[in-house]
């Protein structure tokens, strides 16, 4: 995996996006918008950054990931399937009664999920606990989490932010998926969390701002996080909700609705064309 190129990562991200569309289409529900916006971040984490082994999903010293914005489960499942945690074909079972792929990630159902999440604001606290656990074991592993920009309206996020800095959890990285949209509108219209970088900085975090779809910037930010001692790192990633599917981009109504058959075809064709272009 070490030698994986940015071009390869881009192809994987395209496959991950197809998995998101496949899952939500088959489920007839789910959250494609905020899944598509974190695809590059998740792809980089699971294919390049994290010390993980799909064959040993409970290894003690593996790096941990917490999807604090748990509704983006289709993206997490798709990246895990593409990484070899389970067959890609299983993505079609998303949200079905007998499926391991619950609407929000559940560690009870699926090996490789480091903690159940989905109720907003709670994942980052669990990530703090994992990072603290790692510290007790002599910095045994690193912990990554992704928050939504709407999610940080939850007060618990700031309880956790205060705590992570107070405990100097420099093995913790929190991405904020700043796609600017939440269910009721733009984040500014609803209850503006802006300015986000200043807030995390004021809470004592190392803060990095990036384009969340650019692998070079993701890589540089994660390297900086690793080199930063004594404080946790917040990576504020500017992203596009619905990224990669033309009619879903920047459309708030794709937060929590699934494509119908016609939309599914259009989306898959767009992504296949992009993949062919990259492979050609």
């Amino acid at each position: 995996m070490d030698a994986i190129s940015k071009k390869e990562l881009a192809k994987i991200a395209c496959n991950v996006r197809m998995g998101i569309i496949e899952g939500t289409f088959n489920a007839k529900s789910g959250h494609p918008g905020g899944s598509l916006s974190i695809t590059e971040i998740l792809t980089y984490l699971y294919f390049k950054e994290m010390n993980i082994n799909p064959e040993k999903p409970t290894a003690c010293n593996r790096d941990r990931f917490v999807l604090s914005k748990g509704h983006a489960a289709p993206a997490l499942y798709s990246v895990m399937a593409n990484r070899g945690f389970f067959p890609v074909e299983e993505l079609k079972t998303l949200r079905k009664v007998d499926s391991r792929l619950q609407g929000h990630p559940s560690m009870n159902y699926l090996p490789g999920i480091d903690i159940s999440s989905g109720s907003l604001g709670q994942g980052i606290s669990a990530a703090c606990g994992m990072a603290l656990g790692s510290k007790l074991k002599g910095d045994a592993f690193r912990v990554y989490t992704i928050l939504g920009d709407g999610e940080i309206e939850e007060g618990q996020v700031w309880e956790a932010a205060m705590y992570a800095a107070a405990k100097k959890l420099d093995n913790l990285v929190a991405f904020v998926d700043n796609n600017n949209l939440q269910i009721d509108g733009t984040v500014e219209e609803v209850n503006s969390p802006y300015p986000i970088p200043e807030k995390f900085a004021a809470f004592g975090w190392n803060v990095i701002e990036i384009d969340g779809h650019n692998f070079d910037e993701i890589e540089a930010a994660l390297n900086e996080a690793k080199a930063t001692k004594g404080k946790p790192t917040a990576i504020i990633a500017t992203t596009t909700k619905g990224k990669g599917v033309s009619f879903m981009e920047n459309q708030v109504n794709w937060h929590g609705s699934a494509p119908n058959a016609e939309q599914y075809e259009i989306a898959m064709n767009e992504l296949k064309a992009l993949l062919n272009e990259m492979e050609g």
Binding site: S116, Q122, A127, A131, Q156, E159, M162
Partner: protein, 314 residues
Amino acid sequence: MADVIKTATRDAYGKALVELGEKNPDVLVLDADLAAATKTGAFKKAFPERFFDTGIAEGNMMGVAAGLATTGYTVFASSFAMFSAGRAFEQVRNTIAYPHLNVKIGATHAGISVGEDGASHQCCEDIALMRSIPGMVIINPADDIEARAAVFAAAEHNGPVYMRFGRLAVPRIFDESYKFEIGKAVTLKEGSDVTIIATGLMVNEALIAAEELSKEGISAEVINMHTIKPLDKDAIIKSAKKTGCIVTAEEHNVVGGMGDAVCDAVCSEYPVPVVKVGVEDTFGKSGPAVELLHFFGLDADNIVKKAKIAIEKK
């Protein structure tokens, strides 16, 4: 009357944590700025590197406890019952209980006996809240011996446990030989006319009530229901068959508490009259703890009165 040892169950909790910490290096303790009151301060002193204060942020504390538990530790998280079961209900439900993590919630200052602090801090709803969570174990010890035993049993149990401790010093009922098992009720006195099922500090009141009743020729059976979930239904049904009526006694709202759990148990299998002693669906108020307990009818006198009512209903 011989000198009776009186200890608050929260004190026994603090001491038991230290004892447990000495035996088990994987035990961690969290608190939310109440270590002096919850008595986890004793653990903090003994094992500072295994104690974490999350500050006044109970929701975050429960999440941190969950995260730590996923890395292999047995985590005790403490605050007052009001904030553990109340404020942090959803964190307990979603991040601890749903993934069935090894977090033990040490909730102190439960019930009316908080005393002078008043209604805002007198949690009489925690049993109801915790009962409604699948897989949650609820233990409400009656004295210091049982509180210590509960801590050790909770540590052995795989999964979430809610332990309910009090602020008020209460008389010791058991001796060092007392055997405690999660989910196994203890019959403290055999009887034939009425069953008194009590939990927490009401167990001692139940024993006093049984004595009073015997003076009037009424034979009361007394059961200590230290574990409210999973409930020992067999013990309840067995006793109901013997006495034909039940009085429940708890320092909790009569809505959703142990009394309701007992009603659930008997109504489908062996319906008998059940009369509840508890806080009558009202908020508490300020006052000295013992006076308040009498004010709210959480005493032996009320149990005696309710026992007679239960018998009449047979």
